[in-house]
């Protein structure tokens, strides 16, 4: 990243602290603001990719203090207002810089992912290998076969190159089916569970609304949480956004799919194009059915497979680097999926290997354009440059895995996880949607998780101490010490030596 603009005095019109004087720094990746008043410390760090709209407010004739400046709308649930002096051309300069670098694609510039030179220990692009993933699921077998029919994306340009299709289906049949389906998207396997191909289909309508409804719903949610949380009739206001209701319908749809699959039926999941609702339902159902996807790496595979490879139109839904903020193709479908995953982690605190921090990181980089992972609409468009020229988000994650691990995780392979899709249990994800509110203490981790990690460290410290004591014994008596925790026999021995410095009752 390089600096484009720095150290200019600016006033940040904070919704919480009022006008805050400070310095602004703009690079080709981020907008950074720090207050100069010793009294209030306000810091802003916004990736330009998160900006959906930049507008000038006030004109030459504007009266009133701080009415002249910039109004920035972000994709991540916040709005920022800056006031500037009318003299000079600082507003024009900042506006043009922001406009150009927040929307590089509208200006013939590359996305930041192509500019950055970040290096990581692990290459995240290797996380998902389709044939290996099919093999893990026991494919091919006598019901399903792997086809390379789409090798050069000539069957369906929005599908991946490697597909699993019913064993008996002939290549020419697939081509004929493709001709009939919307954008040639033939049915292919999601969960990879054995079944009777596509026969005995039972039609279930799930009543889930379209992408426009979801977009409006999230917009309404933003209205009631930013800048201030609606004080009166909060729950009624929340209900009227319908956001949790949509989350509920998606989750309960996925539960129905998972239930059918686990009882031995095959399920064809589809929506009009098969890249929005379908991706949500298949990936959530797979998360419920297959514990592998609940691991840190497995979850990355799931996103790569069901979202990225199967052609969720990230570019259109998010609008990376594009100035057209009112584009009707934009919709928070992926955010909704991550919200559903979060709801599941809340109901089953020990079932997922990853923690909330991973989900927050994924959503932050969904917009940031720092990684190649969520760019483009489908594999065919991505193939040409992304893997070689950009860094994968999973490189970042897998190079520092421990901060994304859930200490409570208890692997239970083969367990099918059915969340309760009821309003009684669905909660607003406040640590995501209301995280910009300074009234809420910024926490890296949930307090429960943090406390558990502290206790784990304490346990290890005691184990080390005990080991040291036993080692110093064995040097004189050459006896191997028993594993301390594996022994809880109730032998009572009079303590001859008190380690007073360790008497630490809880």
């Amino acid at each position: 990243a390089f600096c484009l603009f720095s150290d200019k005095d600016i006033i940040y019109m904070c919704h919480f602290n009022g006008a805050v004087k400070g310095k602004v720094l703009i690079t080709n990746y981020r907008l950074y603001f720090k207050s100069s008043d010793a009294d209030v410390t306000v810091m802003l760090d916004v990736p330009l990719g998160a900006i959906s709209r930049v507008e000038k407010m006030g004109g030459a004739s504007s009266r009133g203090e701080n009415s002249y400046g910039l109004d920035i709308t972000c994709k991540d649930m916040r709005n920022l207002k800056f006031a500037l002096k009318q003299e000079g051309h600082s507003r024009r300069d900042i506006f043009e810089l922001l406009f150009r670098h927040a929307f590089p694609l509208s200006h013939g510039l590359p996305l930041f992912a192509y500019v950055t030179q970040e290096k990581y220990a692990e290459n995240g692009w290797n996380i998902y290998k389709p044939v290996e993933e099919f093999r893990r699921q026991g494919l091919p077998n006598n019901k399903w076969r792997i086809t390379f029919i789409n090798k050069s994306y000539d069957l369906c340009d929005t599908y991946p190159t490697v597909l699993a299709v019913p064993f008996k289906s002939k290549e020419e049949d697939l081509r004929r089916v493709a001709a009939f389906r919307s954008r040639a998207r033939i049915p292919a396997t999601g969960g990879g569970y054995e079944g009777d191909e596509y026969q005995n289909a039972e039609l279930v309508f799930l009543d889930i609304q379209n992408i426009h409804v979801m977009r409006e719903s999230l917009k309404k949610l933003k209205d009631i949480v930013y800048p201030n949380v609606e004080e009166s009739h909060w729950l009624s206001s929340l209900e009227s956004t319908h956001w949790l209701e949509h989350v509920k319908l998606v989750l309960s749809g996925a539960i129905q799919v998972a239930d059918k699959v686990s009882s031995g039926n095959s399920v064809v999941v589809h929506c009009s194009d098969g890249w929005d609702r379908t991706a949500q339902l298949t990936s959530l159902a797979m998360l419920m059915l297959d514990s592998h996807y609940r691991t840190l790496r497995g979850f990355q595979v799931l996103i790569e497979k069901e979202w990225i490879s199967f052609g969720h139109k990230f570019a259109s839904r998010i609008g990376h680097g594009d100035k057209n903020h009112a584009d009707q193709d934009r919709s928070p479908i992926f955010v909704q999926f991550i919200d559903c995953v979060w709801q599941m982690t809340k109901q089953f605190p020990t079932a997922f290997e990853f923690n909330e921090h991973l989900l927050l990181t994924i959503l932050d980089h969904l917009y940031s354009c720092r990684f190649g992972t969520f760019l483009y609409n489908c594999e065919s468009a991505r193939e040409q440059h992304v893997r070689s020229k950009t860094v994968s988000l999973w490189s970042l994650v897998n190079s520092k895995m421990d901060i994304y691990l859930n200490p409570f995780y208890t692997p239970e392979s083969g367990r099918v996880l059915y969340p309760v899709a009821s309003m009684r249990h669905l909660e607003l994800w406040v640590t995501y949607y209301i995280r910009w509110n300074p009234r809420i203490r910024q926490q890296q981790q949930s307090p429960v998780e943090q406390r558990y990690k502290e206790l784990l460290a304490l346990r290890d410290e005691y184990l080390k101490k005990l080991e040291q004591l036993q080692l110093s014994d064995s040097s004189t008596s050459s006896r191997l010490a028993n594993s301390p925790t594996a022994n809880t026999s109730s032998t009572t021995s009079t303590p001859t030596q008190q380690y007073t410095h360790l008497q630490t009752p809880f």
């Binding site: 919480f16 009624s236 809420i440």
Partner: protein, 752 residues
């Protein structure tokens, strides 16, 4: 004792005792009143295939159902020592409803009533939110009718002394006496019925300008105040006696707590005589100012003016209960959030938390003493004073500290438990779940600061359930005087030697071994608790935070600066207007013109929270949640199988148990023994001393989530919530639970 009832049931009594002798567990003093066989307990609304059959019994303590076939004993959940899985204490019954399905009749039964039809079923609405339904399709109609009448009759005791505790504790006392009892049953919770308990509290909080006053000994001044109270040293007994005449119920101001900065929390009733108001106010305020080490001013918060009243709270609770357990599950899904909103329960919880935080700001941030004032000083003041202390003083977040807080601010301060719980089911207008509201507020704080409390939400839930078991002196009386009188009469009647300690012969709820085994009581322990002297790892070294009593004053330094800033900028909004009294306003202004208290809160929230310091709950509506374990534990549809918070608690509990074993091993560690004698392996503490419910796991333990883990743990929804699903039948409109449960008074007189 049961004279007039016995007339009706004499013959049944004799039969009952002999028949049920081998099946029912009777507590000392418990007798079977009536019973009926071949009863079906409805456990699911749809099919009756799994419904257990058995005998329904009414005793003078409980309604009991004894299944014919013993169900497989469910492991690892809270089992009550006196109450079985299917038992309901009579005091826990809110409403007894009989139904005749074929005739389309129903009747809410009260005491001494007639029933003109043979009931086909009995629905029991319980105060702990259970709804239990029995069907008599195979039972003798006459016996069924009699059992229903007996249950209705015995659940409406004519007199307080008829509550089972008075029979039970007498027997228990004499039985225990044989073994000899330790003073106060070994109980550590101070009761505040003696000067020493108050003295200790004065010393603990360094309230040197306050003294224990005994003018109310033998309740000479006020029947609702405790015998010993704490007052400013500058006020003489004679003055206090004189002032007492002007207060409601002669309740002079009561000291609650002292902040290390010298400011005090005081509660008082209203002054009855408006002519003397100014004069008395002035004297009280001067005395409190004198007792402040920095002679700071005093402000007063009139809780009647800014908080919901007891009727509001009651109606909110009735609504939220209705939404949670009565409304059909699926149909209420769509409007769930707005229904909860419209009940206003969470709004009230929030109001109390917010107001208490505001008081904390005055004590901590502004260094002034606060008087909580309420008409009678026996309801809202109990909630607010205890919440304020819970936020400011970590001592009250320990188990013993919390119990002493309830004892001090509720039981001894004269909260009308008898009336508010409506144990005698006489005056519904006085009923109000204030203590429940307090427990919900505590839960909200616990939810936000999970490592700050020594106890768990299971403890709070069990405590709320204990209100409906009439065995403890804690929840049975409306004032200290009433308690003393009843217990004195009781002692006389039961031949308990004079001078015996009330706590020994009629123990409070705090003696938990009355209800649960030592093992089950470990469910109350929060493995996350960061208590005094908690060990932690710093830079790879185990360190112990040894804390002095006044650790919480560490928060003071920061706030003192803040206050100076506040004053410097002239933001002091307190109005004085020549009066000593500054009325406390609770208004939350818009962001830009931030009030000093908002600034105080913002400053506090910008720093990391110290679990052993001041804790302020977030009171934004988005951060006040429905207490699911309490409200939804019986709802089968809302139960998350093999999920919920218990799965994390399980792992925490195992880890802490392992740590405690290691600690004990390190303490007991012996050096190498001389010679070649094998070294006894260092052991953990004996299992009865282990504090954790779940024991450390072994490497070869299967790592699966036990089946009994549900979001309702340690409770089970099976058979505890049977709503009727009889839509479309003529009876359905009668059986709309809402109408039955909500309009107690109107329906009680509704005869069929």
């Amino acid at each position: 004792l049961h004279q007039h009832c016995c007339k009706i049931f004499t013959f049944l009594l004799t039969v009952g005792v002999t028949l049920s002798f081998f099946f029912i567990c009777l507590s000392p003093g418990e007798i079977v009143v009536n019973e009926v066989n071949f009863v079906r307990k409805c456990i699911s609304a749809e099919s009756n295939q799994d419904d257990p059959w058995g005998k329904l019994i009414c005793t003078n303590f409980k309604v009991s159902f004894i299944p014919q076939e013993a169900p497989p004993k469910q492991k690892s959940q809270l089992s009550h020592l006196l109450l079985g899985e299917h038992d309901i204490p009579l005091t826990c019954l809110e409403q007894v409803v009989t139904v005749n399905d074929t005739k389309g009749k129903k009747k809410v039964l009260g005491s001494n009533q007639k029933l003109k039809f043979n009931p086909t079923e009995l629905i029991l609405y319980c105060k702990d939110l259970r709804i239990i339904r029995f069907c008599f399709d195979e039972a003798g109609p006459e016996s069924a009718r009699k059992v229903c009448l007996a249950i209705a009759h015995y659940s409406h005791p004519a007199d307080l002394q008829l509550l089972f505790g008075f029979e039970y504790q007498g027997r228990r006392y004499h039985e225990c006496k044989v073994n000899g009892s330790t003073p106060r049953g070994g109980m550590q919770t101070p009761i505040f019925d003696r000067p020493s308990d108050w003295d200790r509290e004065i010393k603990r909080t360094s309230a040197s300008e306050w003294r224990v006053c005994s003018i109310n000994e033998s309740y000479a001044i006020s029947p609702s105040l405790p015998e010993y109270i704490v007052v400013p040293v500058s006020l003489a007994d004679q003055d206090l006696k004189q002032y007492s005449l002007y207060f409601t119920d002669r309740r002079i101001p009561l000291w609650c707590w002292n902040h290390p900065n010298g400011s005090a929390l005081v509660r008082m009733a209203c002054i009855v005589d408006p002519l003397h108001q100014r004069k008395i106010d002035q004297r009280i305020f001067t005395a409190i100012t004198k007792s402040h080490t920095q002679r700071s001013e005093v402000i007063r918060s009139d809780l009647d003016k800014c908080l919901p009243n007891i009727q509001d709270i009651q109606s909110a609770f009735v609504k939220v209960r209705q939404i949670c357990v009565l409304d059909p599950f699926e149909e209420s899904e769509e409007r769930w959030l707005s229904s909860i909103d419209n009940s206003r329960w969470l709004e009230y919880v929030r109001a109390f938390l917010k107001h208490s935080a505001e008081i904390v700001y005055y004590l901590e941030g502004k260094n002034v003493s606060v008087i909580l004032q309420e008409e009678e000083d026996r309801d809202l003041n109990c909630v607010v004073s205890s919440l304020v202390q819970l936020m400011l003083d970590p001592h009250y977040r320990s188990l013993i500290g919390f119990q002493s807080l309830v004892q001090k601010e509720w039981v001894m301060a004269g909260h009308r438990f008898l009336d508010r719980c409506n144990h005698l089911k006489k005056n519904y207008k006085e009923e109000s779940p204030l203590f429940m509201l307090f427990l919900d507020c505590v839960w909200q704080m616990m939810n936000q600061y999970p490592a700050a409390f020594e106890f768990t939400e299971a403890y709070l839930t069990v405590l709320s359930d204990s209100m409906w078991i009439p065995l403890f002196s804690t929840f049975l009386f409306s004032s200290p005087k009433q308690r003393a009188q009843h217990l004195m009469d009781f002692a006389k009647n039961k031949a308990i030697p004079q001078g015996e300690d009330q706590v020994v012969y009629f123990p409070p709820v705090w003696e938990w071994s009355q209800q649960f085994s030592i093992k089950d009581q470990t469910l109350f322990n929060n493995p996350m608790y960061v208590g005094k002297g908690a060990a932690c790892v710093q830079n790879g070294e185990v360190k112990t935070f040894r804390r002095t009593k006044k650790t919480y004053s560490s928060t003071l330094r920061g706030t003192a600066t803040l206050m100076r800033n506040g004053l410097k900028e002239g933001e002091d909004t307190l109005t004085r207007r020549g009066s000593l009294v500054s009325e406390l306003k609770s208004e939350f202004s818009a962001v830009k013109d931030e009030s000093p208290s908002e600034r105080f809160f913002r400053d506090w929230f910008s720093r990391p929270a110290d679990q052993q310091g001041l804790l302020i709950p977030l009171s934004m509506p988005s951060h006040v949640a429905l207490w699911k374990l309490f409200f939804l534990r019986w709802v089968p549809e809302a139960c998350i199988p093999r999920g919920g918070p218990i799965t994390a608690y399980h792992k925490l509990s195992q880890l802490v148990d392992e740590i405690e074993i290691l600690q004990s091993q390190l303490r007991q560690y012996k050096g190498p023994s001389p010679g070649n004698t094998p070294l006894p392996s260092p052991s953990g503490p004996p299992s009865d001393q282990r504090r954790m419910y779940f024991k450390a796991s072994y490497p070869d333990d299967p790592a699966t989530t036990p089946d009994f883990f549900t979001s309702s743990f340690p409770f089970t929804p099976v058979g505890n919530l049977c709503r009727r699903s009889v839509y479309g039948t003529p009876i359905s409109k009668f059986l709309n639970g809402a109408r039955i449960w909500l309009s107690t008074e109107t329906l009680a007189n509704d005869t069929v």
